[in-house]
Subunit: 240 residues, 2 copies
Amino acid sequence: MELVNTDVAYKFIREKILSGVYSAGMPLASKNLSKEIGVSRTPVRDALRQLEADGLVIIKPRIGASVKSMDLKEFKDLCGLRQALETYAAGLAAHNRTESELEEIHGALEAMRVIVEKMLKTANDKELLGDLAREDVRFHLAIINVAKNDLIKKEIMRLSLINRVVSNPPKGKSTETLANRRTVLESHQEIFDAIASKNVAAAKNAMERHQQKNLEKVILMMGVKERSKFHSELGIAVKG
Amino acid sequence: MELVNTDVAYKFIREKILSGVYSAGMPLASKNLSKEIGVSRTPVRDALRQLEADGLVIIKPRIGASVKSMDLKEFKDLCGLRQALETYAAGLAAHNRTESELEEIHGALEAMRVIVEKMLKTANDKELLGDLAREDVRFHLAIINVAKNDLIKKEIMRLSLINRVVSNPPKGKSTETLANRRTVLESHQEIFDAIASKNVAAAKNAMERHQQKNLEKVILMMGVKERSKFHSELGIAVKG
DNA sequence: AGGTATTTTTGTGTATACATGATGGCCGAT
DNA sequence: ATCGGCCATCATGTATACACAAAAATACCT
């Protein structure tokens, strides 16, 4: 695969957005970017167009590009979309799964359990939190892979990126309780069991409930964040 | 809303693809396009990037753009994605619907019924077919609107475009029987009833079955088309 | 004659120049 | 003093020129 400057610019800007260096609402002037990246404006514009398609950037004619910001409605819609896709994927996974594929899902589930139990003992969450998040996505990713629908996978991956941006700003500070993590684990267990027993309807139900809980959790979290940052309209990820 | 050349190029190319003038696999040289449209290559490239995001075009570095072509697997995945979204939307619609919104869905349903009954009498399908298709999308669109999730709506609209391209080439010749149309009508009735009675689970089930039937129908249709066009690799919408 | 190497040509990717429309400050009028 | 219009500045949209890679055509060798 040939690598062109457009890709360089794309990865550069995307990384900055995902890491929160470019925060929501921030204008992305093609001139500045081209100087910063070291390429001309043309590939930068190309990259911005791709990022717009990803839903990370918004481009208004004659105004320019800026990092996408969301209101609460849009965020809820996003979660709904994701719920629809992951739920469907869980159903497919329950239908398609082979033994070895089940193995991988189970591996992610157990890895999460181990981490949560470690957390009960040590108060030091710092890196465990990262591990937990990693295993969480591994679990969901495993299911999506087993579903074997490449378009749905692609779409969910796209949504994940947007989610990452939205939940990013508050310095990664976790408002989750241990009880919450326990609940997540239980949800995952339910999902796994349904997939293991090839029960399509149960898998869908379990995943739908899981996603619903997640939505409610994040909404709550965002509500809190919102109040605390109400004065600075710019630089927040979600307003409304 | 300001209108720029990029939009002109986008609409131009998109229209040609949707109408089948640019058929699947056909290379889209930016130079030719720019001459044909009467703008420079820059906005054409922009437009092609957008069309790539829409899933209508594929761009390979150093090679160029071409109209996207699909294999059977990808098409099935597409239908799955659509099934997931429309099913979810039906559930939302059943939950959210107001009386007046229900009215609109019902209107589309009855309009379709009238057309199908007209078809029973007159053999002249020519324009009735167009009307039927129009009312069909109106029905689905009404449900999606009632679901009130803008992202899901946007995504379904995108998929509809791709579908249109895929099912387009065979001169609009309908392989559907009247019995088929009856079945579609019954499915719609079921979906409507579920939404009317605010039964979320039933609405989802009805829509899922409806989409499933549609997939099977189109797969069959495509299988036939495929065999008949096997020799000409280029210019077919779906290969495999 | 067939296949391969080489040249030619075409088209992409990129940089850059230019024009138009937007943004922000300044000045005058009320 | 504040509001509204005018002007300067700047960034965007667009066109175009250039370099290099890929494809096509031609010539060459076996």
